[in-house]
Symmetry: C2
Subunit: 324 residues, 2 copies
């Protein structure tokens, strides 16, 4: 009896592992996108296949916002910036009367949003610049530990798409090096990508502010400046890939028009290539949006996907599970 109980315990304990070994993409329904991913990986990894790609060239690039984790109702990094401004307000009494901070602090969201990109940039600069990179990383980690998503109440690092995390692992198990190529801030993302996605900091490419090297009491620090060094979005994505990776990926994964050039650049390479767009179609389990969306607009990239045969994931129908 005892041995039977133990055996049953072992079976239960290892059941998720066994399932994962059987099917590394078990959160994907048995529809077209899953078959397309598996077929691509099998063809490029099979020795002797005409589509074989050597391990060192197996580079896969992933957008982050809307591709690996959610991006509604606003980009999570923007929520971080808004929360930071509120937390920093006691040290900035001048913000009480200074737009756009005054709108934000008094809860006048309408006036704040009317300021558009300019309001947003002021908040991003105030919340991101002027501190050392070490302090910034600690601040992001603390926010991720405590902040909750306004709709779900979950920590932001649990607003991650389980099927995409499975895909990252599946690709790595097949010799791929997985990179993030995102419009988000590189230092913001690096605070969680290793723990949440298994992607180390040196494989995260993002938008960047300028940095300044200084000695403070003999100790070197890197201070974040408010000026922009590089915007890793739209045409910036293939440029970021060339600058940071130095070779063309064989697979690219995105969800919006911001990822269009990254998919173009990747799939225009010689040999078998793979492009995939995540289409947000699930208004119950997530959000449904595409052409007219203010965040994550999917319009021109979608049209190009249809013409070029990029795989389009219909989240509602193709994913068994959405969040981890």
């Amino acid at each position: 009896m005892k041995i039977q109980t133990l055996t049953l315990g072992l079976v239960l304990a290892f059941a998720p592992l066994a399932r994962a070994q059987e099917d590394p993409l078990h959160s994907w329904n048995a529809t077209g996108p899953k078959a397309a991913v598996r077929s691509f990986v099998e063809r490029v990894t099979k020795a002797g296949s005409p589509d074989f790609v050597p391990v060192e060239e197996r580079i896969a690039v992933f957008d982050n916002d809307g591709t690996l984790w959610a991006e509604q109702p606003i980009y999570f990094q923007v929520q971080f910036a808004l929360d930071r401004v509120k937390a920093m307000a006691p040290q900035h009494p001048e913000w009480k009367t200074q737009a756009p901070f005054s709108y934000l602090l008094s809860g006048d969201t309408k006036s704040f949003l009317e300021g558009g990109q300019k309001s947003l940039m002021a908040v991003m600069a105030a919340s991101h610049a002027g501190m050392t990179t070490d302090d910034f990383r600690a601040t992001v980690k603390e926010w991720l530990r405590t902040a909750q998503h306004p709709n779900t109440g979950r920590p932001y690092t649990q607003m991650v798409y389980e099927p995409m995390v499975e895909l990252l692992k599946y690709l790595r198990a097949n010799g791929f090096k997985t990179f993030i190529v995102s419009g988000g801030g590189v230092e913001f993302m690096r605070a969680f990508t290793e723990e949440v996605y298994g992607i180390p900091p040196e494989q995260v490419i993002g938008s960047q502010g300028k940095l300044k090297y200084e000695l403070v009491q003999g100790q070197p620090v890197l201070v974040k400046l408010p000026d922009v060094q590089f915007v890793d979005d739209k045409t910036g994505k293939p440029i970021g890939i060339e600058t940071f990776i130095g070779r063309r990926p064989v697979a690219a994964f995105g969800n919006s028009d911001g990822d269009r050039e990254m998919l173009e650049w990747t799939t225009a390479g010689k040999g078998l290539r793979f492009g995939l767009l995540v289409h947000h179609t699930d208004s119950l389990r997530e959000w449904a949006y595409d052409r007219k969306s203010h965040i994550g607009e999917l319009d021109k990239a979608w049209e190009e996907a249809l013409v070029k045969g990029w795989t389009v994931v219909d989240m509602k129908n193709d994913w068994k599970t959405i969040f981890r």
Copy 2:
């Protein structure tokens, strides 16, 4: 007899391998620097040691010019640019009368050099910009295949320091990820670093020009522009490390004042760290230069090395072999 001959043959065939297994740094003399490197690596890799560093944090950064390969009588990339201008001259008849190209083409080196940095930048821009990144890579590869060093007559990729290549391999065999962090152009270096040093393109950080993404007859290309995006030298080195790698290295290797901040930043981190400077002391087998040198000046970094206990390699006395 036959078996003995075979055995002897095998012994001879595997002798270099056996030697390498015994001593991964066999081109280093048994002097202080070799002992310092080995002691550092043993301490950070020994499980349970108070100095133990987890594999994912074993980041080592290397300067290139003067640290991994030679840099005299001029930086090899500058020689490439001069050779390119000469090769491109037939397509640029206007250069015959246009300084600084006219000086270069007529052999008036004195007038060319009097133009200083400005002449040099004009030549770098003319030889590096305006082509696609793919074409540029092919051009560099062809130059490296055919060009010869003016003093030794050897291909430039043979002007590489054997002891440093051994050191790269030794670190990688101990779980380190090796990066290049150089003032040289990132695309120039990536044309040879994988083959020559075993360092893949995504682990090469260097100075960068701006790039432009374009569609040419429906095909995407990245075109090199003459504008500077990032200078990876002096304070630019720790900034490049933070931007590209996103964590502080535990070991840094350089040879000149351009590497000073990289060694400062690396060795100021918590826990055991390692800094090393290659001092060019061998006028017979290589070149001897330091404080007053026009190229690879070693002055302030050397003083800091003495104060902070960074290891200084005396090439003449510490290296058994110089070139591969």
